[in-house]
Amino acid sequence: MNGKLFTQMKNEWKSNVGLAVELFIVSVVLWFIADTLYGSLVYKVEPTGSDIEHVYQLKVDFLGEDHPRYVENSSSADDLRELLARLRRHPGIEAAAVAQVGAAPYSRSGSWSGVEVLVAPGDTAVFGVNGELSIRTVTITPEFPRVFRMKGVRGETPEQLGEIIARGEVIAGVNIHTSVDSAHAGGNALDFIGKPYLRYNYDGSIAHLRLGALVEDVKRSDYEPLAVSGYLAWPMQESDDDAMDGYNEILIRVTEAADGREFVKNFRENMATEFSIGNLYVNDLVSMASIRGSYLAERDKIVMRLILVVGFLLVNVFLGLLGTFWFRTRRRTSEIAVRMVNGATRGSIFRRLVSEGMILLLIVTPLAILTDWLIRYNNLVISNEHDYFSYGRLWFCIGVVFALMALMIVAGTCLPALAATKVQPAIALHDE
């Protein structure tokens, strides 16, 4: 029977070639999209290194000189310390930290710099190849690890990480050693703990600080790959005079029990009186969850558009098969009737028609896989969602695409095939 099926397909080769070309194009495009989505998904499920639940960002501002309530000779550093003290006394607030804008995740701001570590006297390892600006550096006060519940790779608690920052030591993401220059590549990241870091400041001076701990990498956003982030947190103390300049923000963690609409409402109602100190005042508080939402919205839109294209292509496959097979079964009514007269069951007629489409897909798939692999091999990809190639990933995406296409083929041939099984041999063969 299979031999006959192939002969029959060969006889219909003209419309089959059209279908095969379509299946091929759709298969490759779908694979490309699947690979992109896979990349997004992989990054999205990777740990972000920070817990943003129950965390709020405070928008802080200063009264200008021409404001009626402007206080002459007030010290912003003192005002900040008083604000932090009041925040910590406020019911429900567990921790409050000051950080450079961009230290918290889901921020568009950020600073990157090349840093060096003194591995041995006279031997420096350069982070960020050739001093290119590649390590994300942030400045934080000791309570920052508590606000975001950061974890040390040697089991340090957020409180212990806070003590390290308070001692004036640096904290780095565990993947930082992947960007070490080639001479030191492959070394164990833990070996760098206790070594002095050199930072080149913008004014040309050099800061020497010890690496106190390695933490799980802190990503900027869910869709960002871990390895490219690189993370280095420099210490800042609440007593520093410049701790509250225009480039810093305040972040608070609220206890799980206290957090909720009531907390936000209460905070907003009282902030004008409770959190207005000297010329410093709290403007608003925004939950990290909502900051995350608007940051990811753009990316989510891209994912949605891709899914829309996937839907479109699948509907096309469905329509193409529906149209072609509808016509085909109409033309083959008498042939189908002859088969039935010769003892073919309705089930076998149905299976035979559906398997025509499946065979086309099976013929096209190896070609599509070859093309997918060539695209991969020649790196014809556009975004970092396509980083980290593995054969597992290739096969997984191919498998998903194959399953989706097979589903559409069955759906598209189903209707015409069902109609074909309703053929009444006596009527169809009336003329013969």
């Binding site: 379509e22 759709v26 600073s111 040309g204 403007n283 839109k301 329509l319």
Partner: protein
């Protein structure tokens, strides 16, 4: 002509499944292409209040790099930087300076609960470069910058929320406890409009430029401002770029010997700007165009293959009729033309359905499809993409063109083959 429509209707009735599948296939393809075109259009086509997009040049970010490559800092400009780089240029008609991002501020009046809105500071030229529609009052002028209480322009919807009316010029309200006075009310602007969007505009404090002058060389040019340059004629792009380049040369001279150098990409036209390059990147216009062409090609090709195989099937049923026509003296070209014209009718019907679908889809799901310009800071406000922004004659023309191409791609080969039919064989119904 009448004959043509009769033929199409008869054909549809004879093979309803194929006809409907053809129309749905065409409609879906046109719809998706149109949605992609619309997304592109909102980014680059002129709409009020950015009606002069084809004559705009935008400033890109400002970057200073240390000569040893160890440090780099990029940001938007200070007023001083914009003044020195773009002040009093000869080629352009006007230059406006404004805050490149928004500040969320809380506004209130007695009896109305405070709410957050997006605010932006601008110079007076802003109201001449962008064409906002004033429903009440007038824009502020440079002289208004020091008036007490400060005067501002607000949108219709903010005016309604605060005062219950659009006519609120002259009335006062509180913005972060500051008294402010409305001088003008404009129609709402969609946040899709990058630079003309805000909900409240206030004049820039001109004294900031003097503060900039007191800062060190390494930091005096960084700020949060950007400029839009309005050219007299869209053909002046090169002349304006030349003039700006000569300005830059003078500007850069002051960095000589400081260990730092300026490093920016100059100015961007609308298309380059729409790609929203970072402050330290060059926009890849050619690459993005290629990507769009590839998307259009796939969106056209896949349905074209589908429709082609369906047209082929339809024509096979009509071999007999075509044979008779040929026997009665119809030339090959007239048969070919007739088939293409019939198919064009089907495609146009599909195209029209697709266009209507795409407009309703884009209108209903605007928030999911279109991007607010750099979505950050924007409180959850609707995108307010208006019907006028979606339906534009060029878009309709493109829909027609896309249908036409789809028609040629899908009907060309089957029609050509049908026109080659040997009348004798066709009438004898000898299928080949």
């Amino acid at each position: 002509m009448k004959h043509l429509f009769k033929q199409v209707i008869y054909d549809m009735k004879a093979q309803p499944v194929l006809g409907i599948v053809s129309i749905i296939g065409t409609a879906l393809a046109i719809m998706l292409i149109m949605v992609v075109v619309m997304i592109q259009q909102t980014r680059i086509a002129p709409y009020a209040p950015e009606s002069n997009r084809d004559r705009f040049l935008y400033t890109n970010g400002f970057m200073v790099r240390s000569e040893d490559g160890r440090m780099a800092c990029s940001s938007r400009h200070s007023l001083l930087a914009l003044q020195e780089l773009y002040g009093n240029l000869e080629t352009p008609e006007r230059v406006t300076i404004f805050d490149s991002s928004f500040a969320d501020k809380e506004v209130s009046v007695d009896g109305v609960a405070p709410f957050m809105i997006d605010t932006r500071t601008t110079d007076e030229e802003y109201w001449r470069v962008f064409d906002h529609t004033f429903v009440d009052g007038h824009p502020y002028t440079a002289a208004d910058a020091t008036v007490k209480p400060p005067v501002v322009v607000i949108t219709e919807s903010v005016s309604r929320r605060l005062f219950g009316t659009e006519k609120s010029a002259g009335r006062e309200f509180l913005c972060h406890q500051w008294p402010m006075k409305v001088c003008g009310v404009v129609k709402d602007v969609s946040p899709v409009m990058g630079m003309s969007y805000a909900q409240l505009w206030s004049p820039i404090n001109p004294d900031q430029i003097n503060q900039d002058r007191t800062k060190e060389l390494s930091s005096r040019y960084f700020g949060s401002f950007d400029a839009v340059i309005l050219l007299k004629d869209k053909n002046d792009m090169d002349a304006a770029r030349k003039e700006i380049a000569s300005r830059l040369a003078t500007f850069d001279a002051q960095f000589v010997g400081s260990g730092n150098k300026r490093d920016t990409y100059g100015v961007l036209d609308q298309e380059e700007f729409s790609l929203d390059p970072g402050t330290n990147q060059e926009p890849d216009v050619a690459g993005t165009r290629r990507l769009y062409y590839a998307v259009y090609l796939i969106l056209l090709l896949v349905p074209a293959i589908n429709l082609s195989s369906m047209t082929h099937s339809r024509l096979r049923r009509r071999r007999h009729e075509i044979g008779v026509r040929r026997a009665f003296g119809a030339t090959r070209n007239s048969v070919l033309g007739g088939i293409l014209a019939e198919n064009l009718v089907v495609t146009f019907v599909g195209g029209l359905v697709g266009l209507i679908l795409s407009l309703s889809f884009a209108y209903l799901f605007a928030d999911a499809i279109f991007d607010a310009w750099r979505g950050w800071n924007t409180p959850s406000i609707e995108l307010g993409v208006s019907g006028a922004m979606l339906f534009r004659w060029p878009v309709f023309g493109l829909a027609l063109l896309a249908s036409f191409i789809l028609n040629l791609l899908s009907a060309g080969i089957p029609a050509w083959r049908a026109s080659r039919v040997n009348p004798v064989e066709a009438i004898n119904n000898n299928e080949k």
